[in-house]
């Protein structure tokens, strides 16, 4: 019995069936379908069906698994081949482009210009011009005031910068009919937009934009200086820098040492001119009972804050302190 079953195990699925039942076909005809019913059908008799059935089921399962595995392997291989082909394709394209760029750069060095030997098509010329104009429109963005006509008016973009660093841009959607008015904008609420509009919008659009730009740029510059101070000198500042939304009132503290002791200076900067980025007032206070000599230092510091950009003024103070 055992020998026979081991033989069956080696033989494939179909043959095992044939050995078991040469006259009949499929599993269902050779063997009863359910184990439960078997008991009813043949009472008292002991068939080796349990073993064979289970064995055949195992074989079926194994074959199924094998088929699945083969399928998966085939798929993996197909995928791998696809990937390989794609890599080849991309490598070729990359090498082609590299050669093209090299050739272009060489031409540039030799002649200073990359001319097409053939007459360029009108399409190429127009495409070039389109790109060229787009680049010029970008430059207008760098000049501070740019805009684009819309169906109902104009959409303006006001750019701000502190020295060479460009900061936030602000937008205004302006309608021109029936009268010039602002439809929507991204100007912060603490900028006196309404006042400026009331004064200039109807009569002198250029002036309106120019004045608005002054306010926005100054605000952006003040904010930038305060942020630079916080970022670069955080370890020198005691506590946090306090500022209002318009960034025209700043309060912060730092320590000054004299005779081995440390004294806190509290600075209050007021930017009276909303279009200015330097404070009009720099008040420095110290704790009562501080040595009189500190008054001179305070005066010098106050002067620095009114003359130089905030982060630069502070830099000079820190440098002076360290050199003492």
């Amino acid at each position: 019995e055992e020998e026979k079953s081991s033989e069956k195990r080696k033989a494939p699925w179909g043959r095992a069936l044939a050995t078991a039942s040469p006259d009949r076909g499929g599993l269902t005809s050779a063997f009863p379908p359910a184990r439960g019913s078997r008991g009813k059908m043949e009472e008292g008799k002991t068939y080796p069906q349990d073993g064979v059935l289970a064995y055949l089921e195992t074989l079926e399962a194994q074959a199924h698994e094998l088929a699945l595995k083969q399928q998966e392997e085939e798929q993996q291989e197909k995928k791998l081949n696809r990937l390989k082909a794609r890599v080849q394709e991309l490598r070729a394209r990359r090498d082609e482009l590299r050669a093209k760029v090299e050739l272009q750069e060489k031409k540039l060095v030799d002649k200073g210009v990359v001319t097409d030997p053939a007459q360029p098509s009108p399409q190429t010329v127009l495409e070039w011009k389109i790109k060229s104009i787009k680049a010029m429109l970008q430059i207008f963005h760098l000049t501070g005031i740019s805009g684009k006509p819309t169906k109902q008016g104009v959409c303006f973009c006001i750019s701000t910068a502190y020295e060479g660093t460009y900061l936030a841009s602000y937008y205004l959607d302006i309608l021109t009919k029936p009268e010039v008015r602002i439809q929507r904008h991204s100007v912060p609420v603490f900028i006196p937009l309404e006042q400026i509009a009331k004064k200039y919008l109807q009569t002198d659009l250029r002036r309106f934009l120019s004045v608005l730009w002054e306010h926005l740029n100054a605000y952006a510059g003040r904010r930038y200086q305060a942020e630079q101070l916080e970022e670069r000198f955080s370890e020198h500042i005691e506590g946090t820098l306090q500022k209002n939304s318009l960034c025209n009132l700043l309060v912060f503290s730092y320590n000054v040492s004299r005779n081995g002791q440390s004294f806190p200076f509290t600075v209050r900067l007021l930017y009276g001119d909303l279009c200015g980025s330097l404070p009009t007032e720099a008040t420095i206070s110290c704790t009562p009972g501080a040595p009189a000599s500190l008054a001179e230092t305070a005066a010098a510091h106050s002067d620095a804050f009114r003359r130089l950009a905030l982060h630069r003024a502070f830099r000079s103070l820190v440098d002076a302190k360290q050199s003492q």
Binding site: L90, V125, M136, F140, I145, S146, A161, R206
Partner: protein, 191 residues
């Protein structure tokens, strides 16, 4: 095991795709920046394009889009020049370095006039882009203005040059030019 082999190929594919994109852009940039077509050539191209459009045009994309796109952009540019009084007569740009949309550095030469004041600039611009926002900074600036009638400008020009304040240069030049123009008109009026 199979997956890791696939991963190696997939990683290479991604790298190659990025490299190809950068190279294609570089090709495009070099071509754009070293080519020049005069206004006459542009006009000619427009006419030829119109002819092709009316004839049998079998190409990719709608041909009429190019011409109308160009005219729309030309309109935008002319609007801006009229509004600001700033006209650019020459602009050339050279991309120095570009990296994966992270940053781009270029040199630009610009000449033009603001109302009646001619100027010439050369600057280096660094543009950076991360997930949240884009930023730009002028890393070098040199300004040439005719000394002569407008000597009061020279101090201001050297100061803005030193601080690389391109924006302030344009805004102040614009204000000055307008004031100057206004003064000139007033004087003429009284002559």
């Amino acid at each position: 095991m199979d997956n890791s082999v696939h991963q190696v190929y997939e990683d290479e594919i991604q790298l190659l795709e990025e490299e190809i994109k950068l190279l294609a852009e570089k090709c495009e940039d070099i071509h754009q920046e070293s080519t020049f077509f005069s206004d006459e050539e542009i006009q000619m191209a427009k006419k030829l394009f119109q002819r092709e459009l009316q004839g049998e045009y079998k190409g990719h994309g709608s041909p009429s889009d190019l011409k109308s796109q160009l005219e729309s952009l030309e309109g935008d540019l002319s609007f801006l020049m009229k509004l600001t009084g700033i006209q650019f007569t020459r602009h050339s740009k050279k991309t120095l370095e570009k990296c994966k949309h992270f940053y781009a550095c270029c040199t630009e030469i610009l000449s033009g006039n603001c109302q009646s004041l001619p100027f010439q600039l050369e600057f280096q611009l660094l543009e950076m882009q991360n997930k949240e926002n884009a930023s730009a900074a002028v890393t070098d600036l040199s300004i040439i203005m005719e000394s002569g009638q407008h000597s009061e400008l020279s101090k201001f020009v050297s100061s803005t040059e030193e601080h690389r304040n391109l924006l302030l240069f344009f805004r102040s030049l614009s204000s000055y030019a307008e004031w100057y123009e206004h003064r000139r008109c007033t004087f003429l009026h009284f002559k």
